[in-house]
Symmetry: C2
Subunit: 308 residues, 2 copies
């Protein structure tokens, strides 16, 4: 806590299934924070205003503290729709496109997402643009290939510090579907996710790299391998995540060309999995903490809106 | 009905989620039939014997009619486990490996599945071997590449009328997961599945053929395309099925080499989708009706076991 008596802004990363609020001081230091699973899907049923109010109360935010939000709260099915800015986009100038929430008692604004308005490769993001903005502030590079793993992983080409174009891979969501709802639910157990068996994960990454089309034939093989006694259930989760992350990276590599450097914006266990997988695919990797990047982006935009 | 007074065998294709029973006369003609959704998953909870008994009663099977079953009823989690025969396998000689169900009142047997007992490409099938056997009986070819679409599509290489090796693609199951449980559930509606818009489907097939790795980037694009107003929800189902079937065929093509001919064993709407998709991938296609093939295979095996 740098200065609990002097908070300046509350900033919120409001995703589909997660809510994170930070109370920041004038220097961007964290005064306090509050997080929960009350993402957009929850709040759409239970009320965005109520959810935000509870978290503000929890961190003892002074009445009238301005609030800046990024993420799915600005989607059409969110709180108030914040229309997309279009790629290529200068992320330094999107703060003034934030939308004011009239329903709120005080100054609450939601940042826009970014749309790639191209019928050949249509794509959208909400929240990652703010994270990327924070990451770019922390980096000296004007050009970069950026990998942001998640439920919907984003790969972004940055040119001259602008978001030039990007692509979404549903890697995290497909992993969850396969391990929770498919026949492969019988091929994984929680122990596997805890397991530290690098070899299995890396073998799957290498397979996806050297023969990406075989990935489609390998999903069912995870189950067959266990039925035939070659592997057990502790192997399933690692192998599946290796296949899916490997397929994402192989596909991104073919799309974004033979780039040697990648900026990985990630936190938590997924960060280490992607680091290993990217390395095996020949990338030089710079890692930026995803949460810090989100907070940094939100702070910069809050400063632009309300001054420091 | 050829001869309702003279049934010889009851044969059953007992899948994961479906049950189909035919009462056959000595020539293999259908005396009567009964089908339901009481597949292995249902029967494991409610009792295999009871389900079979009800269907036998429904078709008025004479008491003591012998019953031959193929499919998931022979899985470890099924009625009685029928151990796999191993590929390469001569499908003409698997009937004597059928397992007798002791619990049954009369002669009930379950056919084995086929396992590919190779740690590099482990795979299993239950039911498709019987279908394939019936299809081979109906075909003059000694060698063939066979595509059997479904929840878990099987591609089989037949050599000298033997099942040489095979691969499973989870195409049907992944389609169901994406359209029912993922963010893409908002991108499809039932009208789309009814729609006759070939162009969308074929465009997705062609995309998967010419650039298979882009498929991974295209799933989320189905949703983004609608958010940005390029397409509407009636397009989603066709596009997704085109991407997934296209990815399967592209992967199988890379795995099974530059074969020109393929035997498609299918029935229902999926048959026409695969026919178009295979054609666009340059295949010459012979179509064999999947249900007739299953029945034919079961009949041949029943004859081998009980004589004609």
């Amino acid at each position: 806590m740098t200065s609990s008596s002097n908070p300046s802004f509350a900033v919120v990363d409001w995703g589909t299934s997660s809510f994170r609020l930070w109370l920041l001081d004038r220097g961007g230091g964290v005064v306090s924070e509050s997080r929960s699973g009350e993402g957009m899907m929850h709040a759409a049923r239970h009320g965005f205003r109520a959810v935000l109010g509870r978290h503000l109360a929890k961190v003892n935010a002074p009445s009238g503290t301005p609030v800046l939000i990024c993420g799915m709260a600005g989607a059409r099915q969110g709180w108030v729709e914040a229309p997309y800015v279009h790629a290529p986009a200068d992320l330094r100038s999107i703060a003034h496109k934030a939308v004011r929430v009239v329903e709120a008692d005080h100054d609450v604004r939601i940042l826009p997402g970014v749309a790639q308005n191209d019928p050949e490769v249509p794509d959208v993001m909400r929240g990652e643009e703010t994270q990327l903005s924070g990451a770019l502030d922390a980096s000296a590079a004007d050009d970069a290939l950026v990998c942001m793993p998640g439920t919907h992983s984003k790969w972004v080409r940055v040119k001259d510090r602008r978001l030039d174009h990007f692509t979404t891979y549903m890697t995290g969501e497909i992993y969850a579907l396969l391990t929770q709802h498919s026949i492969l639910q019988h091929a994984v157990d929680d122990a596997g996710q805890e397991s530290d068996n690098d070899a299995l994960f890396l073998e799957a990454i290498e397979q996806a790299r050297s023969d990406p089309e075989r990935v489609w034939a390998s999903f069912f093989g995870v189950r067959a391998s266990q039925l035939l006694g070659f592997e057990d259930r502790t192997c399933g989760a690692l192998r599946l995540s290796g296949l899916l992350i490997g397929a994402e990276i192989a596909a991104a590599r073919s799309l974004f060309g033979a780039e040697k450097n990648v900026t990985l914006i990630a936190s938590g266990p997924v960060s280490e999995l992607y680091r290993k997988a990217l390395k095996l695919n020949g990338f030089e990797i710079s890692i930026i903490n995803a949460e810090k990047a989100s907070r940094g982006g939100l702070f910069r935009y809050a400063q632009q809106i309300w001054g420091c």
